[in-house]
Symmetry: C2
């Protein structure tokens, strides 16, 4: 496994890789969700590149860029075990030199849900992912369904801008009690950690009611909201049932529908989702 | 020479081309300036792709998209003589399907000069050029110095977004009297055509004064402005002497400086430039 810190060296080593290349972009502090992406990339491609880069442009000024958890040495050990060929971990200055001023932006669907709560978030995501795609030139790139809107936005970018690669989405990996794995779970104290299971419980409740015939999206949102509000540590940011391509809110559930939510548990903002199909 | 109208077929034929590929993006209605780009691409690459696409997203609502001159059959004859391998001429619907909503945007330098007069112009240019680069995957792409700011903006996009290709700029090709070749020259009536030479004359005047020691940018702009104002058919949009990378207006000329101007001759808006170096 080679660990590369500059774009120039990444490009040079890229030329020696056997085609096609599978690519897993991450912000590090890896968990089993990331490792499932690496495993899938490994199974589908002779070469695997993983990036570790906490991308400042996708964090708002009041958000947790500075405190975002980092554990590079542990990440590298996990990636070595996962048979990664190249780990690309550039500095912020390498990715964003002082005069940097070019952006890739997806329109309307970037403004909904997470984009409404985090205005410049997806512009940062699409810009850094476009840059990484141009540097790594993968045939396939792997993303977790946990960040559902990110997947929808990146697929849109790839389609609209004719990027020559395939986006592969992998299922959300969960803790035994159902909490979606996330690097931010490390912020939770034990009491909050127990409370955090309410996100997935509310999603399962919606899924159950839908499978029992409930098609009214407002009723499903209401049921979810009521369940979450019983949890004193939880504050709802949004509960959404939307079309999984346009991300427009639905009146009547029509599959595939994205049920997603953002909830603060204490001070930690968590997201999760399921698809009704 | 193959003429291709769909992205899928362009991708398929692209796979058969000998590397590296030289690419000349154009809006058609070709003149000797375009042909100089094709010639240079031909000399430097075993394969040459030229696109003909009048890009609607780089025209403002009050601009000349609908009336922009088109002469596809003549263009194809010229490109055949220039030994082009593939001409890519997609429809607007092929490039911009109904739900299209992803954009590539260069910041500050897109807002100056042409960008000040034409607010969404460079967003349209960078978006379509990024798409074409992703489809054609050239090693080198060729642009004319005539559109000086376009060159600066595209170079910035390529650098910032780590696009894996080289931008090659070719000198402005001029008519015998000095008028820069442009598809829009066809809009000029004979009287306007004679008056249009004032753009290049003002640039030559600035160049002469600079080479004789004049470093004061305000004085150079004033001399140019005075000359153009003597021409009754001319209306100045801007006369600029700016840094050729940041496009910031200069007080004291420091090479390389971009001397550029936009002038209406009758109803036709023309641009031209020289570099002081």
């Amino acid at each position: 496994m080679k660990v590369v810190e500059t774009i120039a060296e990444m490009r040079r080593l890229r030329l020696e890789l056997t085609e096609p290349v599978g690519f897993v972009p991450t912000m590090g502090y890896l968990h089993d969700g990331h490792l499932a992406l690496v495993k899938r990339a490994r199974a589908e491609n002779p070469s695997v590149v993983v990036s570790l880069f906490v991308n400042p442009t996708q964090f708002g000024p009041q958000e947790d860029f500075a405190s975002y958890p980092r554990a590079t040495r542990r990440d590298l050990t996990m990636l070595e075990k996962g048979k990664t060929d190249i780990v690309f971990m550039p500095s912020v200055a390498e990715v964003y030199p002082p005069q940097f001023d070019s952006w890739v932006e997806v329109g309307k669907i970037s403004q909904r849900l997470e984009g409404a709560a985090r205005p410049a978030h997806f512009r940062g995501v699409t810009t850094v992912v476009a840059k990484l795609f141009n540097i790594v030139q993968p045939a396939k790139a792997y993303f977790g369904q946990k960040d559902a809107q990110q997947v929808v936005v990146i697929r849109k970018m790839v389609t609209d801008l004719n990027m020559n690669l395939e986006v592969v989405t992998c299922p959300t990996v969960r803790e035994p009690d159902g909490l979606a794995m996330s690097s931010r779970n490390t912020y939770l104290n034990p009491e909050e950690r127990r409370a955090a299971v309410v996100l997935y419980e509310s999603l399962k409740l919606a899924q159950r009611q839908w499978s029992q015939g409930e098609k009214d999206a407002a009723k499903l949102r209401q049921t979810m909201t009521a369940l979450i509000q019983k949890q004193p540590l939880a504050t709802i940011d949004y509960v959404s049932i939307a079309d999984n391509e346009t991300l427009e809110e639905l009146d009547k559930v029509k599959p595939p529908a994205l049920v997603s939510l953002a909830v603060k548990i204490g001070k930690t903002r968590l997201i999760d989702n399921v698809i009704l199909e």
